[in-house]
Amino acid sequence: MSSTGIRLLMALFIVIGTFRMTSAQEKNKIPPTRTTLSRPDFSLPEWDQLVRVVLLRDYNTRVVLVGTVLLGVCSGVIGTFLLLRGRAMAGDVISHSALPGLAIAFLVGEAIDPGAGRVTSTLLIGAVISSLIGMGCANLVRRFTKLKEETVLAIVLSLFFGFGAMLLSIVQQIPSAQLAGLQNYIFGKAASMVYDDVVLIGVSAGIVVLLALLFFKELVILCFDEDFAETQGWPTKRLDLLLMGLVVCVTVIGLQSAGLLLVVALMMTPSAAARFWTDRIGWLTLTSAILGGASCYLGVLLSALFPRMATGAVIVLMGSLFFFVSLLLGLRRGLFWKWWHAIQLRQRVERADLLRACYEAAESLSISQENSGQPRELIDVVITVPQLLAYRNWSERRWNRLLTKAVGHELIVSLPDGGYRLTQGAIAESRRIVRNHRLWEMYLIHYADVAPSHVDRGADWIEHVLAPDVVDELTRLLNEPRDVVNVPESPHPLQPEMTGGGREER
């Protein structure tokens, strides 16, 4: 657990560091004059504007910020369940299929009582109904045809969106429609959010998050193992309906205040990004909520600094930035850590290979010298690079490089005449390695009927992954002493020419 904590801290520092750097750059970038810029349409903010925005002195920025962050948090929570249920695109489909509902609700409202169509609640009810019909249609098509899931989603999405857009093009010809701002539902108007919107978002986000937390356990079991939930007597159909209901709720609210693109992105990106950070579902939900909120926060601030940048689009891009940063640096599946582990493993393997080669060279030297009447301890044996070359198929340059490194690690001592000697610590370590290697070789010979001349290759990579309990099992099987100091003899001749081709460059 502590290593996780350290990693988390490191990652946090990296992220904070980047932010620091970027914000510092932003400050530095403020040029004394703006005439030097080749693109006059992209102006950097003035200092006082920056201060005003960052300190949230603008009422408008504050309102937009609170609204979008709330939306980001609650869609982060719901998005987690969608992702785990394998329905990441559901938010996309639901939000697109809300469009005809908006237009029809407007028309019906206006037809009943001029002005009623512009009321937000009318529009929202229309959107909810239409989204539900969209989901129903998807179910219908899925049930009655053999079209693939993706096709079903694409059909419902495009048809409802097309139909809705057609209705909008009609509605726009009605004079009072301009006031309803229906167009905003597609591209969003996050920047022109008002206090009432924020209240609406706050209340519904609160309810949604509360329900999600209340039924957390039930939703998890639904997403993880539906069959099991079914046999346990959980009403899986109704739980599924609850989840979809929450999604519709978030989508519609978001649609009204932030636009289609933003809702779709907020529903998918934070949870996908959070997946790179944790393997605990509780933390996943929390991380996803935080990432959703954070991308909204940064997006709003940035778009307040650069007025020409559409708030919704900037928020989406911030979310994507988080996603790709997570993809690179995430603690659980991030590329950086994968690469880091791979490097560490390679170094460990290299070190073990080096030690084994040195040990075996020293061992055979000491045996041959013993035969000639000069008993010698391993620690006194001097080995040279030309001797080592025969034990592992590495180039001379690589040997020299690795040996120098090993001297630095105090594994070997470099002698003035160009030879090397193993240190006491290195001998203990290499005993363990050589022992594992030979145990496995013996196991292969005795139990897997591998020819002695071939076992070296098979054992060459196994020795690095042998867990202690497996080693114990091996010693038991082979009736070897459990004593680590005791290295069994190699089951095959160690003469370089016998093994030379066996150990290949990896």
Binding site: G86, R87, M89, S158, L159, F161, M166, L317
Partner: protein, 465 residues
């Protein structure tokens, strides 16, 4: 109402014709790659591409503009280079979309639709942002992204011929796609159906996939400008999916989808001109004078799709329901014949009341039984005499077949499954409806031509036709 319809159509001009032609050409051009996207389970990719090419278009605009400003190209050649840059930008972004989504999926072990979603929202947002930032150079507004500029695009004609440029571009795209599909039909079919086999045969499914993606992206750009995003999404997937419901051979599916695309274009425009004013003037909004063609085309495509879903002769909901209903009726009728036959074996033929009000029947089955009796009387299978129902000769031979099936199956199950007698009946009651003369013959010969079933009841001989 019909008269009204014609009044709205009376000022049909050559512009309207060209709108229809352009829309039809672009829709057909989209439907061709769409067919394969649907079959390759890449429908969402098509949807996603149609969003992300926006970024490519904007980048093409900006790139060519930068070249112009930098003095790299002559103002006279600017329009041509701009077009080329837009196509190139869209194709590159299309490929980036696919490659990126695949990379995120593989490297990040993210679920494929989530990976696609992240990439698509990112690139689309970037496109929108660029449009806003570079608004001085690019004249794309939100409306145009959604609906295209179809109504104005036809005004941009080539020379004095009166043919709109967009019609030529989309027609060219249709031609290219058509040629691709014709030339690589067998490769596309195989790689869509079984990419592994295609790979072992050396057909390079990866390359085919890329070609398909490039063709899709290029088609999308061509269509995008004139007919807009909505239409492109709808036309890429919906006509092919509809065609899938209507056919079960790939060539027919392609032809159907082309036909449907054209159909949507023609009726989309006609309905766009007529339906909204007719409807809305009645509802008190006389100022409505038509809808956007693109949106109406998507709606027509939707009507076609749900129409096919309901009425398709093979895969439609109604035909399936009808078939089930027929099957149920046949079962009931056969059950009734069997019951009468068995009653005649032992005692008096049953009365109609006894048949219909059999206590083991549910109400729905009783109604069906009544209906079946009427129907069988019409067909001359049964006659009613003094309240009793009797089998005719024709009815008897049908009933014999049923009872024979039933008792043969019971004998078979008793022989091989060692079931208690009470358990033989339920499945035999179900299986008897599915056995044909050949299977009955096989059962009989397997059982060494038994005379009676396990309960000692006689097995009727196979009736002669």
């Amino acid at each position: 109402m019909v008269a009204e319809f014609w009044t709205y159509l009376s000022d049909w001009s050559s512009f309207d014709t060209w709108i229809v032609v352009t829309a039809a050409l672009s829709a057909m051009a989209c439907a061709l790659p769409g067919c394969f996207l649907v079959l390759r389970r890449q429908s969402l990719l098509g949807d996603v591409l149609s969003h992300t090419v926006l970024l490519g278009i904007v980048l093409g605009f900006l790139g060519s503009h930068a070249l112009l400003v930098g003095g790299w190209i002559l103002p006279s050649s600017y329009p041509a280079i701009q077009k080329a840059a837009i196509f190139a930008g869209a194709i590159i972004i299309g490929m980036i979309t696919a490659v990126l989504a695949d990379a995120v999926k593989r490297i990040g072990r993210t679920e494929s639709s989530a990976a696609l979603g992240v990439v698509y929202t990112t690139l689309f947002a970037a496109g929108l942002l660029l449009i806003r930032l570079a608004a001085d150079h690019i004249h794309i507004d939100a409306d145009c992204v959604l609906f295209g500029m179809e109504e104005t695009a036809v005004l941009d004609t080539v020379g004095t011929t009166g043919i709109p440029r967009s019609a030529i571009v989309n027609g060219g795209m249709l031609l290219v796609n058509g040629l691709l599909v014709l030339l690589f039909f067998k490769e596309l079919r195989l790689s869509s159906f079984d990419p592994q086999l295609a790979d072992t045969l050396g057909l390079r499914p990866g390359v085919i996939n890329m070609v398909l993606l490039i063709a899709t992206s290029a088609t999308l750009v061509a269509a995008f400008e004139s007919v807009g995003n909505i239409l492109v999404i709808a036309m890429l997937i919906v006509p092919p999916a509809t065609a899938f419901l209507l056919s079960d051979r790939l060539p027919f599916m392609v032809l159907w989808s082309l036909f449907l695309a054209g159909f949507c274009a023609i009726f989309g425009h006609i309905f766009a001109l007529t339906v909204p004013p007719i409807l809305f003037s009645r509802m008190g909004w006389p100022e409505v004078d038509g809808a956007r063609t693109a949106g109406m085309m998507a709606s027509v495509a939707g009507i076609c799709f749900f129409g096919a879903l309901l009425f398709s002769p093979r895969k439609g909901v109604l035909s399936k329901l009808f078939y089930h209903w027929q099957l149920q009726l046949r079962f009931i009728a056969e059950d009734v014949l069997g019951t009468i036959y068995r009653s005649q074996e032992t005692r008096e033929p049953p009365s109609k009341q006894a048949l219909v009000f059999d206590p083991s029947l549910r109400w729905k089955q009783r109604l069906l039984t009544m209906w079946a009796l009427v129907r069988m009387k019409q067909l001359g299978l049964v006659v009613q005499q003094q309240g009793e129902v009797l089998l005719t000769a024709k009815g008897t031979s049908l009933a014999e077949a049923i009872v024979r099936s039933h008792r043969l199956w019971e004998s078979y199950m008793a022989r091989h499954l060692q079931l208690p007698d009470v358990h033989l009946h339920a499945t035999a009651e179900w299986v008897e409806h599915y056995l044909d003369p050949a299977l009955r013959e096989a059962l009989e010969s397997e059982l060494d031509r038994p005379q009676s079933d396990p309960q000692g009841k006689q097995i009727p001989a196979e009736p002669v036709e």
